[in-house]
């Protein structure tokens, strides 16, 4: 099976794993959760490892399909580069800005306030 790489503490680490390893361990789920910005409890780690492992194993069915030379399909519309005129529509006033920001937890001077990247002060 393939290698995969995760950014941990500023450096890339290389993992080797195949389906068999996935069944015997659950730590790979923690790695994926970390990338996805989700914390897991120990019980969730075990539960999701079993559930996701079963689904990923099912996905391996696709290895039976010969896709040599087949172009991937990302969308089915047949459309490309749909443009519209660069015109301002229905925005720009104070009222609509306030309406859009009414769901925002922290607003200061009409701007969205965000916690610090390193420290919250």
């Amino acid at each position: 099976m393939k290698d995969y790489f995760l950014l941990e503490g500023g450096e890339f680490k290389c993992y080797h794993q195949n389906m068999k390893d996935k069944k015997n361990s659950t730590s790979w789920v923690l790695d994926v959760a970390q990338l996805a910005r989700i914390e897991l409890s120990k019980a969730e780690e075990t539960k999701f490892a079993g559930q996701l492992g079963a689904v990923l194993e099912n996905f391996e069915l696709l290895n039976k399909v010969d896709t040599n030379g087949v172009e991937p399909t990302a969308q089915v519309t047949g459309l490309s580069n749909v443009f519209r005129h660069d015109e301002v529509i229905n925005s720009g006033n104070r009222e609509s800005r306030d309406e859009l920001l009414s769901n925002t937890p922290e607003v200061e001077n009409g701007s969205i306030k965000v916690p610090g990247v390193f420290h919250n002060d």
Binding site: I38, Q51, V70, P72, T73, H119
Partner: protein
Amino acid sequence: MTELFKLTIEEASKKLKNGEIKSSELLKSVIDRIEKVEPEIESFITKTFDIARRKAKESDKRYSSGKPSSEIDGIPVALKDVFCTKGIKTTAASKILEDFIPAYDATVVKKLSDAGAIILGKVNTDEFTMGSSTENSAFGPTHNPWDASRVPGGSSGGSAAAVAADECLFALGTDTGGSIRQPASFCSVTGLKVTYGLISRNGVISYASSFDTIGPIAKSAADVAIILNTIAGNDPLDSTTVKEKLPDYTTFFGKDIKGKKVGVPKEFYGAGLNPEVEKILKLAIEKLKSLGAEVEEMSLPMTDYAIAAYYIIAKSEASSNLARYDGIRYGYSPLKTQSSKSKIQNLIDLYFKTRTEAFGNEAKRSIMMGTYALSSGYFDAYYKKAAQVRTLIKKEYEEALKKYDVLITPVSPFPAFKIGEKLGDPLSMYLADVDTVPINPAGVPAMSIPAGFTKDNLPVGMQIIGPHLGEGKIIEIADAFQRATNFHLKKPKIQDSKKQETNKKQPVSPTARRGG
């Protein structure tokens, strides 16, 4: 006049136009019905009856001055809670959006309002439409009107149950992998998944953007056609919408289907198909034959790979779409309460706490699966491979639908299952979508219509698949079938008694079919 809530759009529209009934009378009948059956069905998340009453009075005035806005002026509608409604809570059945109030209407909501339809409120769904049972809702499950211990299907389970229980004359749902068709089948109503891009997705909360479609759930194929006339068409705010001039869908009513070519793909009738469902489908196909259709067995060999390809792509797109819920701009946020805010150390801490605390299990599984499939070492093995298989699936449907007008398949391998039966086993829940998911990668339209009932009186649907922009062909066949049968007219007997205990976990049955 009693029991106006039972009317179809076609019937109600006629009565409204000739002055036999008023919009506000129709609305009152439907609201009374909701109050009566809702303790049993639980399809609504948010009710907007006060606004509805005001709008119905405006509609009364339009009718009395002889100027209704459209065929659906005054018709009460329920919206799946993923359509943004200006000033009205829109939750996607997720804790992460439990207090979210949109600043604008989705394009389809605006089109319905402009046409005079009366919005009753927002109905239940699986969280972010991820699921096949409506059990993944942060607000609890909805119950199947035919048997309250069973699921209504999903994810548009609230929409389908509301139509089946006569809590509205029609509803809007969304279909990413069967989310309109499977609940329509489980609840014995008529649901259409349109050609990708036929209806604007602007203002509709996304699951998997390259599969997501909007569509009506109604009491007949004729009603579906009436609704399509109002909501289909190009929208500058959704660049994936079709540019073609669309037909008047009501011109496909009452057609003779003699000589129509109907393909029956054998892969959908294999092992794992419930024998009662199979029998009902066979009888329905016989009915089409008796109406003059030329039926032929054919093959779609890629069907076996559709589930895997679909779920890899859907979960990959879902993980990207759900990245926007970060606790900063809108939705659930630890910043909203002083006690949890003081615990936030920095930006990444906010991301982790927001997502961990407010996403449900299926959303978390989706995000993790998508993150995994898109991670650098696995991208080719999963996402790219699935996108290549998608090309082959799409090609297979294109070829088949050059030869046949429509294809007929089951909508689900089995009728509605028990609440709790599959909840702890996501793989078996995914495999239950085997008959509906191949359609979304192909992008073609498909409808579920009532085709019969099992000996336990559970509804079974029939899927009619048409070519790209072939909604008219589907409506022709469905309407002809409904004029020759009365499955779609049968109503569930909803008990007035106190609700049975339905949350008991049931053992998982060995329902998995295909997909190794």
